[in-house]
Amino acid sequence: MADNAVQPRTITTTPRTSDRVFRGIVTAGGLTSLIILGLIAIFLASKSHAVFSTFGWHFITDATWNPDDGTTMSTGQYGIGAMLVGTLITAAMAILFAVPVAVGLALFMTHYAPAWMRTPLTLLVDLMAAIPSIVFGLWGFFVLMPIAMHWSELINHYLGWIPIFSVPVPIFDRSPFIASLVLAVMIVPIITAIAREVYAQAPRDHIEAAYALGATKWVALRTVVIPHGRAGVVGGTMLGLGRALGETVAVYMVLNLVYAVNWHVLQSAGGSVASMIVNKFGEATPNEVQGLMAAGLVLFLLTLVVNLAANLVVRRTSRGA
């Protein structure tokens, strides 16, 4: 039996030279992203290793940033602790503001809005994502900030007994709160775009099953649509978080950078690694530039992890369902 069994033939193709060249070039092109990501890590690491060897973990944990006298690295103090904590605080608050609004908008667009309204709404949200960040910064500084300062005063007045809403020095402009509002406006379109897609893909037959059992619209959405989109919304949120962590000029304009950890979110003092790089860049000493490279490396790794995780989550959902 086994002797007579038919064995599959091995089929080989020898591509023509032109095709081999074509495949080589395309493959090399395909590897660009790998190469660039690798180069970014290598260059930033090589230009900043002196910082890490001088300060070690203190570069991450210390809050002080004092330029050196131009001789050696150790005559200065380089720590991005306050900037890092500030980045995380503003980004987290931005997520807090943006997610409920984005989810609500996405649900409205997919299941409540009349048909004629859906395309224009989608277009407007996509358009909002295309507005340059410096325009958001301008608007945040001149339009949103005066209004948000008023809100800050009200929150402080009524809720000041909660530690994070207290304000040791009553200055309310350029605070983490205001920066996070601007960031929230910037990331809502990102989260909405993904939430809209996953909500629109919610299986019709399950929605109809819920209706046939006597569910109201909201109950049907809560039972079928929202669970179906959960992982997608989590992924979109993390993409938004990545954007919020790395945003530079918009935050630069509406946040007062102070090199001390500050938990009073209404107060005019905050931190942002990305804005700090732009802020210090102009008059930095050569050693200080290495410190900025190190800060860039930390930011790069932080956003890389967040984005990779986000893409994993988003991809898992689009494959499943």
Binding site: G29, G30, S33, G104, D126, I134, L138, V143, T248, A274
Partner: protein, 345 residues
């Protein structure tokens, strides 16, 4: 037979609509009364109060008509409408303020003159952003020249070669889309400006922008190449064409308008980038057409630097820069949408 009139009995009756309208009117009156007799003031407080009252009234009306579950349904609907308004308000506000503030310095000289002869406090009919417009065109053009071929090659790898690395490459392209723009600028600064580039230059800026543009191009190009029907490729190969000839003469031309869309979306993505340019091209007041020789300006940089001056006339110029920038990005975006929409139809 007698004519039967089609109806939609599930739609709200005029009576229900009238009740709802009356409810909204009541909410409006309550809002005005609250503003008049309490400490609340300003348009936002008004909007907030109106939303709260309207939500409560509409949920209450539904509840009286159909019970608790209907009230909950109406409440959620009101919340979702509120969320939509909350997103649209800033969008409208941004558009309005940019147009309104940008008009003042929007004069012919804004497009024809640079800032060499104008003082920062000088009137807006002197000096302009010609150097920034020229710079932006050069920077974006160069970045496109770099990013388009690489992005299309990346996409071709995913759709034509479909090799073992496909998963990894798609993944890394996504990861690259998340690189903060300031990090891209810092990288080019360390790898080019401090090294072979010997100082700030347009080329350095184009490199940084290309890094940011590449993932957008690659992702969109992959989408449009995927739309090229498989049978076209097979037809090409069955005619005895090599893969290279098939891609060059059939696949790419078929996807041409989609690839142009990919490029435009990429341009829209980078045209407004500011942070990487601060670290690589620095900014300048005079027109510098050379990509390799010294700092130059660009529209986002122009806006940024004028803002930093903190003077009224400079603010006016910054707003106009933002207006031109935004119109540019939106036109690109609309054009890409139009091209894309035309293709799918």
């Amino acid at each position: 037979m007698a004519t039967v009139v089609p109806t939609r009995p599930w739609r709200a009756t005029p009576q229900v609509l009238a009740t709802e309208a009356a409810g909204l009117a009541v909410a409006l009156v309550l809002m005005l009364l609250t503003l008049r007799f309490t400490g609340f003031s300003g348009p936002l407080a008004a909007a907030l109060l109106f939303i709260v009252y309207a939500t409560a009234i509409s949920a209450g009306l539904e509840g009286r008509r159909r019970g608790l579950r209907a009230a909950q349904d109406a409440f959620v609907r009101a919340l979702l409408i509120t969320a939509t308004v909350v997103v649209l308000l800033p969008l409208v506000s941004i558009m309005w303020t940019v147009i309104d503030n940008g008009r003042a310095a929007l004069r012919p000289n804004f497009f024809t003159q640079d800032l060499t002869s104008a003082s920062a406090t000088g009137p807006v009919d002197q000096g302009g952003a010609a150097q920034a417009i020229v710079g932006s065109i050069e920077l974006v053009g160069f970045a496109t020249l770099i990013a388009m071929p690489l992005g299309i090659l990346s996409a071709l790898y995913l759709t034509e070669i479909r090799g073992r690395l496909s998963g990894a490459i798609r993944f890394l392209t996504q990861a690259m889309a998340g690189v903060p723009s300031v990090v891209a600028g810092l990288f080019v600064y360390s790898a080019w400006v401090l090294g072979p580039g010997k100082g700030f230059s347009g080329f350095a800026g184009a490199l940084a922008l290309a890094i940011l543009m590449l993932p957008t191009v690659a992702r969109t190009a992959e989408e449009v190449l995927k739309l090229v029907p498989e049978h076209l490729r097979e037809a090409g190969l069955a005619l005895g064409g090599t893969q290279w000839r098939t891609v060059a003469t059939i696949v790419l031309p078929t996807a041409r308008s989609g690839l142009i869309t990919a490029g435009i979306l990429g341009v829209a993505r980078i045209a407004g980038e500011t942070a990487p340019l601060i670290l690589t091209v620095f900014g300048a007041v005079a027109i510098n057409t050379s990509m390799f020789n010294g700092p130059m300006s660009a529209l986002p940089l122009y806006v940024f630097n004028e803002l930093k001056l903190g003077l009224d006339m400079a603010y006016a110029r910054a707003w106009t820069g933002a207006l031109v920038l935004m119109v540019l990005v939106l036109v690109l975006f609309a054009f890409a949408r139009w091209l894309g929409g035309r293709k799918t139809r």
